[in-house]
Symmetry: C2
Subunit: 227 residues, 2 copies
């Protein structure tokens, strides 16, 4: 969490979020009233927050990672159109690509693409087109949502597409439960990744041609003429 | 800055960085000795840090944004191979894509690509290939280093490539001096962006097909069936 996010939460009268995230921060902000909604009730959560703010209460909505990256910031801004008196401010955070990248070393040292494998809100053919484009142009690729409650083969299918363009030896890594209890880190090749089952709390990194495993770290040099 | 980065800087005996960044944090960490090297002397800076750490001093190297994204983390890890007694830990931060994105609203609400336009360490044909791939697959695109001391037409050339695939009306934005004095925000179309001169302290955002300008904000909905 950033120093700025912490300061704003200390000043908030109402803090709203998904139950799991609220439970993580509750003890640190005793001044605030906490409101929660379960998963999938994102619109209801935004409405709660906007109504509390319209009532004149200083209200914070919390997400994990960065609220702008597959987070709630966009939805709040869209729904805020109906609440013209509410002033919305987005506070940046550390998204899983950065948090997980730091744990692995420095995989994102050059141009990278972030792709969610969840087809809940995006057609599978759009996801596959993006995987192909990112692989063919040798981006480092960071995958969010590599598994879901209902679907366990997202990552395997993605790896099969990436292997059409990237070598079997491509340096990869993944991190489970970034910065939380049960944090697990793995370095492996793209061929190994294809055969690896991961859960929905995993962030996956696929290197570019230059990415190396160095002393247990995943590192992409900044440029082709570096070091 | 994250709460964790702040805590580590408070505990550091030596803090090393590019002169400009050291000047920004100096007053907050009076316990530390500060060492600096000017721009372009990145290897010397890493060596200084690794030597101080090898001497048994708790040493922090600082960057702007996230040290893993076009930052110094990769170089430190590569050079640390020659210092087997030094234990390197990477602390994640808020890269300009996230910091600038929050100021603009929520442009990075769906799959995105981060591309540096600097051809100092990367051949121009690799950069152009990545621009084409990202545009064709309808990624949101965040551009770093859209201008340099010597070259002022990087952004114009990039926009011309993107316009082969993206509409002239594509919602775009840019932020100068993110989170610093002189912060400036602009929303504009891709056609307007092509004609806009920017400096090297600017981060540029080019939307996907769904990105909208909403009440002075740049917002990309999370999915095609959202709201």
């Amino acid at each position: 969490m950033t120093v700025r996010a912490d300061r704003i939460l200390r000043e908030s009268q109402v803090i709203i979020g998904y139950t799991v995230y609220v439970d993580l921060v509750k003890e640190f902000y005793p001044q605030a009233e906490f409101l929660t909604t379960p998963m999938r009730q994102e619109k209801e959560r935004c409405e709660m927050a906007l109504k509390a703010a319209q009532d004149g209460r200083k209200t914070a909505m919390i997400c994990s990672g960065d609220s702008g990256v597959y987070g709630m910031a966009g939805l709040v801004l869209q729904m805020a159109e109906a609440y013209p008196d509410v002033n919305v401010e987005v506070i940046p955070g550390v998204t899983a690509a950065l948090g997980g990248g730091a744990i692995l070393g420095a995989p994102l040292g050059h141009d990278f693409a972030v792709i969610s494998l969840s087809d809940l809100l995006t057609p599978m053919e759009v996801i596959e087109k993006r995987l192909r484009a990112a692989a063919e142009a040798d981006f480092i690729i960071c995958l969010y949502n590599p598994s879901s409650r209902k679907r366990h083969d997202y990552l395997e299918r993605a790896c099969r597409i990436l292997l059409e363009y990237k070598s079997y030896e491509t340096a990869c890594g993944y991190v489970q439960n970034i910065g939380r209890e049960g944090e697990v880190v793995h370095l492996l090749t793209l061929a190994e990744l294809e055969k690896t089952p991961v859960d929905m709390f995993t962030t996956v990194f696929i290197g570019n041609k230059e990415t190396q495993m160095l002393n247990g770290c995943l590192v992409t040099p900044r440029g082709y003429r570096d070091v």
